[in-house]
């Protein structure tokens, strides 16, 4: 016990551990504790509740003394939560003794705390030592089972909220790395071509001093010299042209590839993220990130970054040349450079924030579109075109407003740089003329300087543009890496266990799931035997679909474990595990493509005869043959229109083809009428045979075949049994069935004439 005391008190903050240990008697040790972060009036405050082997201790930070409750008959500790706030309550047989509130970050700790309290209470009252129930290692934080080689809990790991580093652009190096060689060649080409462009201004110096000035002073023009210099100018220009072409082509080639890699990687990563991620994001935003953002980064790399690199090289080289000609004049020429650099730095932050805003607002504009266009039928049916237009207008207006604000800073920027340029030139003129008057430099030198810094400052001007473009690209990179950094909340196991075949035995142990602050299911214990058909029954919102999503591992359980053939599903490779599962959904989704492709979606290498036999078994073969192009008919968006029942049978064929051991039918027949349902039911009967099946159905009558029905109510199992047993029990299921039988009754009557219907109503 002493061991646990030390290890647990270690994590406790110093103040509390000191206070707490002073409360303990000699043979008392702390077994569990939970930090409380709210007081009973729901104000933020600190407190601690601790379980020792003698009693329960509690204190809020501003309380004077500790409260204590010794173990006695009738004491109980429970936990409930609402809207992100948990409530820990201590009762005796008659009344509530105390309660504590906390934010749900502590939720799993609270559950363990209660467990510890119960065990101690039990021990104190009956003298029985708590049984060591778990032989497998558990995560100390969330009690998830850990496999032998896992040190850190994969469940808790994902809750790490460290912000990513600011130098996001550098992270693109990961994508540039494969193209190192070509990048180096590109860089060398850039060096050479820049050097070539710097030759012409240099030649103006002798051209001026050796040809033009002597001519003005009455000497004839030296044609040989002119020819030499002019051919030098031409040669430099041609060389610069060729080199420039080569490096631009080379680097554009590389950046295009980097962009493509970035896009593919992001999309691949996105596909592997859990359902939870897609639930929380809007389609428009994700599409914009993968499409527009990667393009922006691409453009940045191929055009702007390249230009910038060239500019930096040019400035460096120019500076060298200027210094070599005349250090003093060079100093004066280069003096405005730090000022401009400072100016750039000053504006950078402001602009970055602005551009991030612009990006967000763009996503918002896109979101309006993504909301409205798929829902266009609803918009038109309710004649809300004007409202939607207004919503778009409002988003656009905000876009304008924010762009205006960014542009206010931005527009000031470029003219300022230009002004700096002019002033810089002026300084060079003044200093140059003064130096010429002192005969320290020649006219040619001054001309060369002016020619150089003309280019130099033009480049500075365009360099200043790089600030905004870099910021935009950085913002885009950040948004891309937001996706790439997002660890799937359904993480792939580090040491996966491979199961080539499965029997289909599914076991749920204490399964609990929480979505946001809502606790959706809890304490689900269930064993499904291979080949058994289970029906999940309950009102909508009772957690049926959640359970199915958990079994498919679209989400991970927040508490407990799901085992398949005795293996935790979190230890299996996700894709491999899902191959064993066939899923038929309420709204079958058909991709754009032929029917054959859609049936073979889960098994792309299926032979035509396999596809046909799957379609036959799904009772889809005949209606497919009736279509103009048979199995080659195009379906999905913009494709052949199919009825709900037909689409459903295609999705059943799809599930049949992969021949899964586990089959999940999520309301597979609820979106079709009763006659179609019978067709589908026949198809399903073929599908269900010999497989572990979990079926959710709204119409209870469709579940009569099930070996067992699991009745769920508000996230808990309330009854288990087959139809006859549950009817005999006259419990929850019985009421549900009765209520539905009445509904079906009225549904049928709706077809009867109105007079009869009202007459029947009166009879009741």
């Amino acid at each position: 016990m002493q061991q646990t005391l030390h290890s647990s008190l270690d994590k406790l903050s110093l103040i509390w551990s000191g206070e707490l240990s002073s409360q303990l008697t000699d043979d008392e040790s702390v077994l569990a504790w939970i930090e409380i972060d709210l007081n009973t009036q729901l104000h933020f405050a600190e407190g601690l509740v601790a379980v020792t082997n003698k009693r329960l201790l509690a204190k809020m930070a501003n309380d004077g003394a500790w409260q204590e409750w010794r173990y006695q008959q009738g004491l109980s500790l429970t936990q409930r939560d609402h809207a992100g706030v948990g409530c820990l309550e201590l009762f005796d047989a008659h009344t509530r003794l105390a309660y504590w509130r906390y934010r749900l970050g502590n939720d799993t700790a609270a559950n363990r705390f209660i467990e510890c309290f119960r065990q101690q209470l039990d021990y104190q009252l009956t003298g029985k030592l708590p049984l060591a129930t778990h032989t497998q290692a558990q995560c100390p934080n969330c009690a998830a089972l850990l496999s032998a080689d896992q040190d850190e809990c994969p469940v808790c790991d994902k809750q790490n909220h460290a912000p990513p580093s600011t130098w996001t652009l550098l992270r693109l190096w990961r994508f540039a790395k494969p193209y190192k060689g070509r990048l180096l060649i590109g860089f060398l080409l850039t060096l050479c071509s820049t050097a070539a462009t710097l030759v012409p201004p240099y030649l103006t110096m002798p051209l001026m001093d050796n040809v033009l000035i002597p001519y003005q002073n009455g000497q004839p023009i030296n044609t040989d010299l002119v020819k030499l210099y002019l051919s030098g100018l031409l040669g430099a220009a041609v060389l610069a042209w060729m080199l420039g072409w080569a490096r631009t082509y080379m680097l554009a080639l590389v950046s295009e590839r980097i962009g493509a890699d970035l896009r593919t990687t992001t999309y691949e990563h996105l596909l592997n993220l859990s359902q939870e991620y897609f639930g929380g994001k809007r389609t428009g935003d994700l599409m914009a990130r993968i499409g527009a953002e990667t393009d922006r980064i691409n453009l940045f790399l191929s055009l702007h970054l390249l230009d910038f690199a060239t500019d930096v090289i040019m400035i460096g080289m120019t500076a060298l040349i200027l210094v070599s000609i005349n250090p003093w004049l060079a100093l004066v020429t280069l003096a405005p450079l730090p000022v401009i650099a400072w100016l750039i730095h000053l504006v950078r932050d402001r602009l970055r924030i602005g551009f991030e805003k612009v990006d967000r607002i763009w996503a918002e504009v896109n979101n309006v579109l993504a909301d409205t266009i798929p829902g266009i039928r609803v918009v038109k049916a309710f004649a809300q075109e004007k409202r939607e237009a207004a919503r778009f207008h409002a988003a656009n207006q905000r876009n304008l407003h924010i762009n205006d604000r960014v542009n206010r800073v931005w527009s000031l920027f470029t003219p300022t740089v230009t002004l700096m340029t002019e002033i810089g030139l002026l300084i060079v003129w003044v200093f140059g003329i003064w130096q010429i008057s002192k005969d320290e430099i020649t006219v040619g030198v001054l001309t060369a300087f002016l020619a150089y810094i003309g280019r130099f400052y033009i480049r500075l001007d365009s360099m200043s543009r790089i600030v905004s473009i870099t910021q935009k690209a950085a913002a885009g990179t950040k948004r891309i890496f937001d996706i790439l950094d997002h660890v799937s909340s359904v993480p792939e196991s580090a040491n996966p266990v491979h199961l080539p075949t499965v029997q289909g035995r599914i076991e749920l142990r204490n399964v609990g799931f929480r979505y946001g602050t809502r606790s959706i299911t809890r304490d689900i214990n269930l064993v499904i035997n291979p080949g058994e058909m289970i029906g999940l029954v309950g009102h909508s919102g009772s957690g049926k679909s959640t359970l199915v999503n958990l079994i498919c591992r679209f989400y991970d359980v927040t508490e407990g474990t799901i085992l398949i053939d005795g293996h935790d599903i979190r230890t299996l490779p996700i894709a491999e595990y899902r191959k064993h599962i066939g899923l038929v959904l309420q709204e079958p989704f058909l991709f754009y493509g032929t029917i054959a492709e859609n049936i073979a979606y889960g098994k792309p290498d299926a032979t035509p005869s396999e596809i046909v036999s799957a379609a036959r078994a799904a009772h889809a073969h005949e209606f497919i043959l009736r279509l103009p192009h048979g199995y080659d008919s195009l379906v999905g968006e913009r494709g052949q229109a199919l009825s709900g029942g037909e689409r459903q049978r295609i999705s059943i064929a799809r599930a049949l083809l992969i021949n899964p051991r586990i089959l999940i039918l999520d309301e597979a027949t609820s979106s079709v009428d009763t006659t179609t349902e019978k067709d589908i039911q026949k198809a399903l009967d073929n599908l269900v045979r010999g497989r572990t099946t979990i079926a959710i159905a709204h119409r209870l009558s469709t579940l009569r075949e099930a070996n067992r029905l699991i009745v769920l109510d508000r996230g808990r199992i309330v009854e288990i049994g087959n139809h006859a047993e549950l009817m005999a029990r006259e419990g929850y299921y019985y009421r549900l069935y009765q209520a539905q039988a009445r509904n079906v009754d009225t549904e049928d009557r709706a077809f009867v004439s109105v007079v009869e219907h009202s007459a029947a109503g009166e009879l009741k």
Partner: protein
């Protein structure tokens, strides 16, 4: 007619509301606001432990004084939407970032997972959901002090 109600409401020793009408007492009754953000005082329902509505209260004002107090106390006990009065510190402008704020319920530190967790309610009011799903309200962001506004502005 405002003071007459055909049910009784009391609090038991377990601290739970008990609702009694013709069909007998119901323990563990919970009051729920229909429009907790946009119109908190309009439409409060009493819900039993199975989630069924027992009674609909259009306006709390219409209830007898003692019932109103009971319900208000229970609501206060259930509702947790701290209102941010001042932002003290933000760990960074890249999410996830840790926020330190002063609320009407004291000082708090929470983690903002992403910019999309900031929801616009109206043009000036915002709701911020932290990493544990707790909602923080900013009733009027334009009324915040300059420092807070500046910090917040980075995320909008």
């Amino acid at each position: 007619m405002s003071d007459t109600v055909d049910y009784q409401l009391s609090r038991n020793t377990y601290g739970r509301l008990v609702f009694t009408n013709k069909s007998g007492p119901q323990e563990d009754v919970v009051p729920v606001r229909s429009f907790p953000i946009t119109n908190p005082d309009q439409g409060i329902a009493l819900i039993d432990s199975h989630g069924h509505e027992l009674v609909w209260i259009e306006r709390l004002i219409d209830l007898p004084e003692d019932y109103r107090v009971l319900i208000e106390a229970e609501l206060a006990n259930r509702e947790f939407m701290p209102e941010i009065k001042r932002l003290l510190k933000v760990s960074g402008f890249i999410t996830p970032s840790t926020w330190q704020a002063e609320t009407d319920r004291g000082e708090v530190t929470f983690i903002l997972k992403g910019e999309e967790d900031i929801r616009r309610l109206t043009t000036s009011s915002l709701m911020i959901t932290d990493s544990h799903g707790i909602h923080f309200l900013i009733r009027d962001r334009l009324a915040l002090d300059r420092h807070s506004r500046k910090l917040l502005d980075h995320f909008l």
